[in-house]
């Protein structure tokens, strides 16, 4: 099991990387952490003519705090996110999600830009980008554009990136003051991709919910927000009856698949259970905040 031969280009800058991509006209792949790409190369599921290595581009791995947002460089490794005090303070839900991402040896190497660009339908980071209303900075030889996470994930392993474009930064707007969060996941073994996972944030104004977000992964070709359930929660307090309604809407918003690990019915059932748990945790934290 060895990769097919390829030409190897080390990019020294973002400009250099996108120039190499443009020149290759779709025959090149970017390698960042390589934790999803290299297995595909080893299996020869992919045989790119050229690999453009971006690991040596300086200043592309960072977590920066601004007044209203946190900016994360595309080359930031999972373990950096997992241990970043800025992430722990502003997005404890993301910090929790990171502990579910694979294993230390993978987290030491894998990058946020790579995970989002790869867009595995059961991965945690695409779901978290969607939950946190992330905006991705996408650069090509002709300029930069911002893409909202909600527009970025198009299908399983398919994102809004042209062959000559690269994700350089992820911007996460800060959450409102009194925000509670919940995260629940079930996978076959610790560190595996999720059979299903749900992340919830609830912001409170006075004693009721002013903003609700519910994102899920593993149960559709892309991660999804459950907008109907979010709308239902606004202005309300969480109780058993409301939770039941939310769980119903979550299950209705899925398109799960049957595979070796779980049936579609099981996944649909599971994601509802997880949504109930994540919602309850978010509500308790929001009330305590």
């Amino acid at each position: 099991m060895k990769p097919a031969a390829f030409e190897y280009v080390v990019a020294e800058s973002i400009e250099g990387a996108v120039a190499a991509l443009a020149e290759a006209r779709g025959e090149a792949k970017i390698i960042a952490g390589g934790q999803s790409l290299v297995p595909m190369l080893n299996f020869r599921l992919l045989r790119p003519a050229i690999l453009v290595d971006i690991n040596r581009i300086p200043d592309l791995a960072y977590v920066r705090e601004e007044p209203d947002a946190i900016r994360i460089g595309a080359l930031t490794r999972h373990h950096q996110l997992e241990t970043s005090p800025v992430i722990a303070r502003h997005f404890p839900v993301l910090r929790e999600a990171m502990t579910h991402v694979a294993h230390l040896a993978i987290r030491n190497r894998g990058t946020i830009g790579g995970s989002l660009s790869h867009a595995d339908p059961a991965a945690e980071l695409p779901m978290m980008a969607l939950l946190l209303d992330a905006a991705l900075r996408v650069v090509s030889g002709t300029g930069a554009r911002a893409v909202k996470a909600r527009d970025f994930f198009q299908d399983a392993l398919s994102v809004d990136l042209a062959v000559d474009e690269i994700v350089t930064e992820i911007m996460l707007p800060k959450l409102p003051e009194r925000t509670g969060w919940g995260f629940a996941e079930v996978s076959r073994r610790s560190g595996d991709f999720a059979l299903a996972a749900v992340a919830v944030t609830l912001a409170l104004a006075d004693r009721t919910i002013s903003e609700a977000r519910i994102a899920m992964t593993g149960v559709a070709p892309t991660p999804r927000r459950v907008r109907e359930a979010e709308a239902l929660l606004v202005g309300r307090r969480v109780d058993c009856a409301l939770t039941k309604e939310v769980v119903g809407l979550v299950r209705a918003a899925t398109e799960p698949q049957t595979d070796l690990h779980a049936s579609a019915d099981y996944r649909r059932h599971l994601v509802g259970v997880l949504a109930g748990r994540a919602l309850s945790a978010a509500w308790q934290r929001a009330e305590a905040a």
Binding site: K2, A4, A5, Y8, V38, P39, A105, I106, S190, G191
Partner: protein, 156 residues
């Protein structure tokens, strides 16, 4: 077949070699350098047998190309100790019967080296979580967990 020259420091020794870009670091270590302590199991990042340290961080050597390691410092299981002079972690594995066939052991040792550095490992659950990326088909993991727990207790 085009090659590229790389210089890597492996277990403290600088190594200069011309490698094909597609050569996996695991194969570079085993075949080019003859360091066969690093084992190759699945070759797609699932079993953890090929875990090594790259600039101090544990990584799967089957998920990185040797050319990418140019200029880096690599430590393999051969860096830990030798027969008759095991390091503390190897000694703990020995004393707790943490290996049977030994195939997973180099990966377990390199993973544990990084885990002990980065996590409190305050409970067996945390140790198990940390080891979850390394497959062992012999031991049932109990003795491996015990060896790492002993290392923690020793440090305290």
């Amino acid at each position: 077949m085009s090659t590229r020259e790389i210089i890597v420091t492996v277990n403290g020794t600088a190594q200069r070699h011309a490698v094909e870009p597609r050569l996996l670091l695991s194969d570079f270590l085993r075949q080019t350098l003859g360091l066969t302590g690093t084992h190759v199991g699945c070759e797609h990042g699932v079993c953890g047998a090929c875990t090594i340290l790259l600039d101090g961080d544990s990584i799967r050597s089957c998920l990185i190309f040797a050319v990418q390691a140019d200029g880096c410092a690599i430590e393999t299981v051969e860096s830990l100790g030798r027969i008759g002079k095991l390091n503390a972690l190897q000694q703990a594995f020995h004393e707790h019967h943490a290996l049977q066939c030994g195939f997973c052991t180099p990966g377990m040792l390199m993973t544990a080296t990084d885990l002990l550095k980065k996590y409190p490992l305050a409970s067996d659950d945390e140790i198990r979580e940390g080891l979850s990326g390394n497959l062992c088909r012999c031991t049932g993991y109990e003795h491996i967990v015990a060896a790492i727990r002993a290392m923690k207790e020793q440090a305290e």
